[in-house]
Amino acid sequence: MMPIDRLADMEEKLRILEDLNMIYIRQIALSLKDSDIQKKIDYEIRMREGACKLLAACSQRDQALEASKSLLTCNARIMAYMSELQRMKEAQVMQRVARRSFDAGPMDDRSPCKGKVAISDLRIPLMWKDTEYFKNKGELHRCAVFCLLQLGGEIFDTDMVMVDRTLTDICFDNTIVFNEASPGFELRVELYSCCSEEDYSAGSTPRKLASKLSSSLGRSAGKKMRAALEPGACSTTSNGGGATILLPVPSVPGPKYHLLAHTTLNLSHVQDSFRTHDLTITGNEECSYWLPLYGGVCCRLAAQPHCMTQQMMSGCLRVKLGGEPQGWTNVYGVLKGTNLFCYHQKEDMEANVEPVLTIGINKETRIRAAEKDPHSKAQNICITNQYGGEEVTHTLAADSREDTQRWMEAFWQQFYDMSQWRQCCDDLMKIELPSPRKPAIVTPKQGSLYHEMVIDTSDDIGTVTDILAHRIEEFELRAQLGSPPHWMALFDEDPPRSPHTHQHLPPHSPSPRLHSRQPRSPRCHRTPGLLSSNASLTSDSDSPASISPCFRQAWSPDASSSSGRFRPRTLSLDAKLSTLRGRGYSGFRCNCQPPTASSVSPRPAQTALSCSSSTSSSTSSEGSNSQESDLGFSRPSSARRSLRNLRAKLDPRNWLQSQV
């Protein structure tokens, strides 16, 4: 075992190496003048740091698992960007070389169009046997799993699923769409698993540190990177160690995912229905993260090449209709998918009017340029199809030679694309776009730190909540009705003093809507000083969470005139309110600018009087009127919520009644 100071020393060295890494990465990106990739890398690095910090800070298991998953995904993305940078660098170099040697050969090759590839409804069957796989028979062996999908430079992760003996299949509901795939794509599917009972200590850290340090940076790093970033080696390894040369992961104690199975899909696997593919399983029964996989993965892999979904060519044409040699009709032609649509005019196409003529363009079609028509300047284009047993030929003509050439080129390209995309061009496959959801990097729930704070019920809090109750009564009703201010008169003796209050509001209280707040209402004995200092109130009250912001607004005018009833325990009040609610809430934000978005919501936007104990939420900051604490979470998985609801419904205890 290494002495602790040497451990710290190595960690320090690791950090230096990491910084050097980043400089190196940025150098490459800069030299390529590709700020796009650079931005992406920077973003991922930031996300990674965030995930590491979270992993270190959180203690709840599912949070740690989510953070660990984010970390792994970030690493994978950084690796992918790096390899892309490398490729671009190489291509640049190659181009310079090619130019010099006038080697124009490969440049003229036709390249197929790109397309969308979507994978969805992933299902991995499991094969549980009675006692074989469990170290402790009787205990439920649980693992957290997720899939990492990589195509080209894009990497996505699915949601995390907890797996135990009660499941027969691992199902991932996500639909993942890759947008710019070429027909020769390789979609790598990796299943990562992490045992859910492990002790999350970094027991093997020193060894990993040592191995990382041994692969130091320097001139050799470039060569190593190239070697490591060959297509096969591109797969990410567990975030704890292994061959991640360029990104020594900071050794954060926490759950670590391991690669359990993988497979690679390509064009031949694309089909407009579900198919089962073989999985290559890594790991064995002895591993903690082992799950008895049946050996296959069932999914729907669909592809929409752009030649099927986009207009590849359009323009004015003349079509010979009927038998007459002179019977030319002007049309507006659009080449899309397996058809050449001929509209009466361009506007018809935009208006979705039916075309006057549709000519099929598919694998069986034959197109040739006819002999020069003595009556026109350019060659005719003859398109021959087999309809039933008959051959039908359409003759078209463009306005000029150049147009004819362009149309022929478009047809050739279409044929080429169809030959490359093969079965995807028979019919358009449907791809359901996933509903807009938050980006894949998920920040786990904030607020767990609140859970851990021990709060004793002190009388002070009772009195404070008493005061809050008064406000809650008023604001509950108001918030529910969208706050017409006049009815305040119902409750208060003083008439509303609308215009004035507005001025008193400090710059970062938003929502002019509440300007009718009158600061002095005798009925509600307030302690302005109390709430204005360290106003770390979370909106955890039961009734619409708009209450606390209203509080702060109300109090702020009087902030200066704090009365003697100032109570210094606001922090514990804050925590108490959080724990009372039983859920974390992502703190509050300091809006130091007039909130623009807040005017949209019917509820007043959230403000903070001071930013003292704000938990920085890396999910959306301004304008997110996340009054419903659900939105305050980054993403409580709906499955988890519905399960919780179900449990709550089934458990009769959950709405206790007591006789008094």
């Binding site: 008493d466 009703l477 009815w487 009734s543 619409p544 309110l577 206790l656 009644q657």
Partner: protein
């Protein structure tokens, strides 16, 4: 809102009020049959014993208890609420309650503005 004063009835060693409560911040509010807002975690009167002190004092089933002897009841756990009602040294509890009909009346008058 109504103020209701209940005089506890001595039943042997116990002081009883003659009603039951439901709700609390630690309870699942969606199961509350009396609340209009299903996220309302307040304390509601779920049952009133016939002829008991609570009924006599004017408490009704479905009332939401806002305060008990000055203690807030809108943000308490179920157990805390129960404790506030069953203090052994108190013979009388003064409740501040809202009743649905009252709420509606208030709401209607607000709408008119």
């Amino acid at each position: 809102q109504q103020r209701i004063e209940i005089h506890k009835l001595r039943d042997g060693d116990n002081l009883i009020l003659g009603f039951s409560i439901g709700g609390g911040i630690d309870q699942d509010p969606s199961q509350n049959p009396f609340s209009e807002d299903k996220t309302d975690k307040g304390i509601y009167v779920t049952r009133v014993s016939k002829g008991g002190p609570a009924e006599v004092a004017g408490l009704r089933m479905g009332d939401k208890i806002m305060q008990v002897n000055g203690w807030d009841m809108t943000m308490v756990t179920h157990d805390q609420a129960r404790k506030k009602l069953t203090k052994k040294n108190e013979d009388v509890v003064r409740l501040l309650v809202t009743r649905k009909s009252l709420e509606n009346a208030v709401r209607q008058s607000m709408m008119q503005h």
